[in-house]
Symmetry: C2
Subunit: 189 residues, 2 copies
């Protein structure tokens, strides 16, 4: 089977280079990307939501032009292993998820996905072989409409930039009189 | 000048392929990655925090093995154009930021960074030429310690997985009796 523009084995190599290890979740994610794309209207621009930050976003970044840095990829953490490709103006899209109810015949995937065994006792090669064998049969999908929060309004103005009077660094003016870090919401002690 | 393992021009091409456009912010981000790395203890593993989701994370993903999907890259949005490379166990690290106070001699970068002109009136080539000319002179850095929230505790247990009694999908058990989406915190209408 192919995943995106790659053969299965080529995609495994791409994962290793980008992600640093052959995470089974990215293999699943790649197949989910293909399912979503095959069920979208042709020629439309889309944004993507991943419902988990584990692995899944890297599948999207490897196979599409949606990245976290161009913000066509968004993460809305529900911890479910699901992604949604949607029209960025209407919010209508296709949600695809790895379906735990379809894993009876795939013990290695099931043990990995539901964390039935510690990682050290899992057989990576068997998991990959099962993903190849299962093809698209272990995923489910549904039409969804995303909340307006995630929709692009063509006329929406972007905030200006000011220098924070406290730290002196540039920040988004619409966030208030000082930058979020100087309000105590930065990542540092 | 080089950026990471690339020449300046090679890096521009990499940006175009991954990010979809030649965003000046990724050029700045690439130089910031190099500054951070040059000032870290050799041979240490590090995690990265980006303080802005705009462009900066894609520089990190292009030049390091820290990605959003392997979670060695974290985004803590303060809207400041800064990134921090830090020891994931001690939290000690180097924060690098594009310093608005050092832009007097670089009018195109200043106009872009402080949004002094609409995007259509900015000269992309001049911005890139100024980034090349300015080298590392327009950034500042400081030693920081990140909050414990962003530090890896070696003994930390990861949550188990359950099937949500409401939607039937797998989710992280430590998030409560149903998944976050079924509590109303999902991205869909």
């Amino acid at each position: 089977m192919n995943i995106g523009q790659y053969t299965f084995d080529e995609f495994i190599k791409k994962i290793k280079v980008f992600h640093g290890s052959i995470a089974p979740g990215i293999v699943a994610g790649g197949i989910m990307v293909d399912i979503a794309r095959a069920n979208l209207p042709q020629g439309e621009f889309f944004d993507v939501i991943c419902e988990s930050q584990h692995c899944l976003p890297d599948a999207v970044q490897l196979l599409t032009q949606c990245t976290i840095g161009n913000r066509w990829l968004k993460i809305v953490e529900t911890s479910r292993y699901a992604l949604t490709f949607y029209n960025k103006y209407t919010g209508e899209g296709i949600r695809v998820y790895l379906d735990a109810k379809k894993l009876q015949e795939w013990p290695a995937i099931k043990a990995w996905f539901l964390k039935e065994k510690p990682k050290k006792d899992q057989d990576e090669q068997q998991i990959l072989d099962e993903f190849r064998g299962a093809g698209t049969s272990i995923y489910s999908m549904a039409k969804v409409t995303v909340k307006s929060l995630y929709i692009t309004s063509p006329g929406k103005k972007r905030s200006g930039i000011s220098l924070c009077p406290s730290c002196g660094e540039a920040y988004r003016t619409d966030l208030g009189g000082t930058c979020p870090a100087c309000k105590g919401n930065g990542p540092y002690l």
